[in-house]
């Protein structure tokens, strides 16, 4: 029964990594970049959500508003800051996202200060038990929200015209432009949606951790590992990888004494290394084939 409990805990933790990993995948698919600022942008969303709750809004409404604001912030970040670096050396673009990270971190310190705050829970605090494992409604809600998000994302990408256009723009920007697609606006939408997913990850994790400017840093490392393990361009892969990472991390952390709390962050990276050595393209990624 303890094993079941650990798996349940792992899936809950994994769902939060998954939400941020989905954001990374979305940015990668739309602009071919890994956005190191994704976690920091999520932290900004959480702080905005906290301020909205402080004004007396109901939590759910505050979170919805936060996600809308995140959409705008993400889109503006792409348009004003990242656009300049697209199509350039990827290294410069990555460092630009690090610069954005530093700016947002400084901004949080400037606006909200460094003091630790608490975020209200989105779900009731009651505990449910099944199969001998116990989980709070918060845990169940987190997994449910994530599952819903994945389904919506898959439908969005596979069944809507906008989703198709986004995939086209990401896959081959110059051809997409020739087809008359507004590639610039599509990239903007991609970044906006990624910021929404990041904000969602932030709001899901916020009730169970103290609010700090760097609250998402560790989660970003897990999300990066999950996104790469899933193949970087596959939303479903990212979610499966994130759950796998969550479970392995929880089970290994609880059963292998050497790991302790400080080495837990190394667990997903070791897992990633082992799997990538066998499958360099990730679990669900495509092997790059190019014509010389």
């Amino acid at each position: 029964m303890i094993a079941v409990q650990q798996i349940v805990d792992g899936i809950t933790a994994g769902s939060i990594y998954a939400a941020l990993a989905l954001a990374l995948v979305l940015v990668y698919r739309s602009t071919g970049l890994v956005n190191f600022a994704q976690g920091q942008m999520a932290a900004v969303s959480v702080y905005i959500g906290w301020s909205l709750v402080e004004t007396g809004l109901p939590v759910w409404l505050a979170v919805l508003l936060t996600l809308l604001i995140s959409l705008v912030i993400g889109a503006l970040t792409e348009r004003l800051l990242i656009r300049r670096f697209e199509g350039q050396e990827p290294l410069v673009a990555i460092v630009a996202t690090v610069a954005v990270l530093i700016c947002f971190n400084g901004l949080i310190n400037l606006v909200w200060g460094g003091s630790v705050r608490a975020f209200p829970s989105l779900f009731p605090d009651d505990v449910v038990s099944f199969l001998g494992a116990r989980a709070t409604w918060g845990d169940v809600g987190t997994v449910a929200v994530l599952a819903g998000t994945v389904v919506i994302l898959q439908l969005f990408f596979l069944r809507t015209r906008l989703g198709l256009a986004l995939r086209t723009a990401a896959d081959n920007p110059s051809s997409a432009r020739l087809l008359g697609l507004p590639v610039g606006s599509l990239l903007l939408v991609g970044w906006g949606l990624a910021a929404v997913l990041g904000g969602l990850a932030g709001c899901l994790v916020a009730p169970s951790v103290p609010l700090q400017p760097n609250m998402m840093d560790t989660i970003l490392v897990y999300a990066l590992a999950a996104a790469v393990l899933g193949g970087l361009d596959s939303p479903l892969g990212a979610v499966v990888a994130a759950w796998l990472i969550g479970i392995v991390e929880t089970v290994a952390g609880a059963n292998i004494d050497v790991i302790g709390s400080d080495l837990r962050i190394a667990v997903p990276l070791v897992l990633l290394a082992l799997i990538l050595l066998v499958r360099p393209q990730g679990l669900f990624g495509h092997r790059d084939v190019e014509r010389l």
Binding site: F36, L110, V270, L276
Partner: protein, 332 residues
């Protein structure tokens, strides 16, 4: 001697006639640089030393990231390994040369062992895997208390100025670190100025194309990773001499990311860029702290964005463009 031969053999173009002038300019710059530590405060000398230390670390990173195109988030682990090795050696009464040998050997061995499996990965996967180095190194340093002093770190007296030099310790350290850094820059320059440099350039542009043209892709990537690690090890030894102290903070991912940022800000594939990037990394936080301590981080981020926005080739690229521009103006 070879330079004068080459200069006389070259046709008497403008640049050939300007060559003696250029050497005079180099000499003046060298004399000024050598004189600075005599007049600067100990604090300024420490800053200069740190610029040279990080310059070596960034130079190594440039071989892997700038030349071979493999983004690494693990350089801080090699700097830290070198620093801890040096601290152990100095703490057990070894001489500076033995300490350097230990730092370089350890960093080199770890680099080869990590590189052999890691270089099979491409692109971002490689970067994320290298992230494991700091993730492992920090807890390890915290746990091996007997060797590393745990989270408190270790303080050692690395070297002091010999009597005959008549220098203060801070001045001696600038010169010592400067000489070693100059040797490393010269070695790396020579290493890249040939087969290896061309092989790495080919790998950076297109791995499949490089392999098709007979470049041993894996071997050269391992070599680039090892050079990066070796430079990190030397930088760690230099760091210990500069600061006389090492703690797990030096191993953290933050430093690895900062070194990568500094590399791009200074300018990739440039020896001068490594130094300019290190100077940005060491000096700009001081300036932003003076402007407004509370907003230091925000202003630093904005400075970074400004440089990236306007000088995508980094500070070295901007300087090169400026020099070309002035030369054209002068010769018109």
């Amino acid at each position: 001697m070879t330079t004068t031969e080459r200069a006389s053999a070259a046709p008497a173009t403008l640049s050939a006639r300007a060559r003696p002038l250029r050497w005079i300019a180099y000499a003046v710059v060298a004399v000024v640089l050598l004189a600075i530590p005599q007049f600067a405060s100990p604090y300024t000398n420490l800053q200069l030393t740190l610029i040279l230390v990080y310059g070596v670390a960034i130079l190594g990173l440039d071989v892997l990231v700038g030349r071979a195109g493999q983004v690494s988030l693990g350089q801080s682990a090699f700097v830290g390994l070198g620093a801890y090795a040096a601290a152990y050696a100095f703490g057990h009464g070894w001489g500076p040369v033995a300490a350097l040998a230990l730092a370089v050997a350890l960093a080199g061995v770890v680099a080869v062992l990590v590189a052999i499996p890691a270089v099979r990965l491409r692109g971002f996967a490689f970067g994320i895997i290298t992230l494991a180095l700091p993730a492992f190194a920090v807890p390890l340093a915290n746990r091996l208390v007997d060797l590393t002093g745990g989270s408190q770190g270790v303080a050692v007296v690395a070297t002091t100025a010999p009597e005959w030099t008549g220098q203060a310790d801070d001045q001696w350290r600038v010169y010592l670190v400067g000489v070693v850094a100059a040797v490393v820059f010269w070695l790396v320059h020579n290493l890249l100025d040939g087969r290896l440099g061309r092989a790495l350039a080919a790998i950076r542009v297109n791995e499949a194309m490089a392999a098709a043209n007979g470049v041993a892709v894996h071997r050269n990537k391992v070599l680039a990773f090892t050079v990066a690690g070796l430079c990190g090890g030397v930088a760690g030894w230099l760091y210990l001499i500069a600061v006389q102290f090492v703690s797990p903070a030096i191993l953290q991912l933050n430093l690895a990311v900062s070194l990568l940022v500094a590399l791009v800000v200074g300018g990739t594939r440039s020896l001068l860029g490594a130094l300019l990037g290190a100077a940005f990394f060491v000096l700009v936080p001081n300036v932003t702290d003076n402007i407004s301590p509370g907003r230091s981080y925000l202003i630093f981020g904005i400075c970074l964005l400004v440089v990236l926005f306007f000088f995508p080739g980094g500070l070295a690229g901007a300087l090169r463009r400026f020099l070309t521009w002035t030369r054209h103006r002068l010769h018109r």
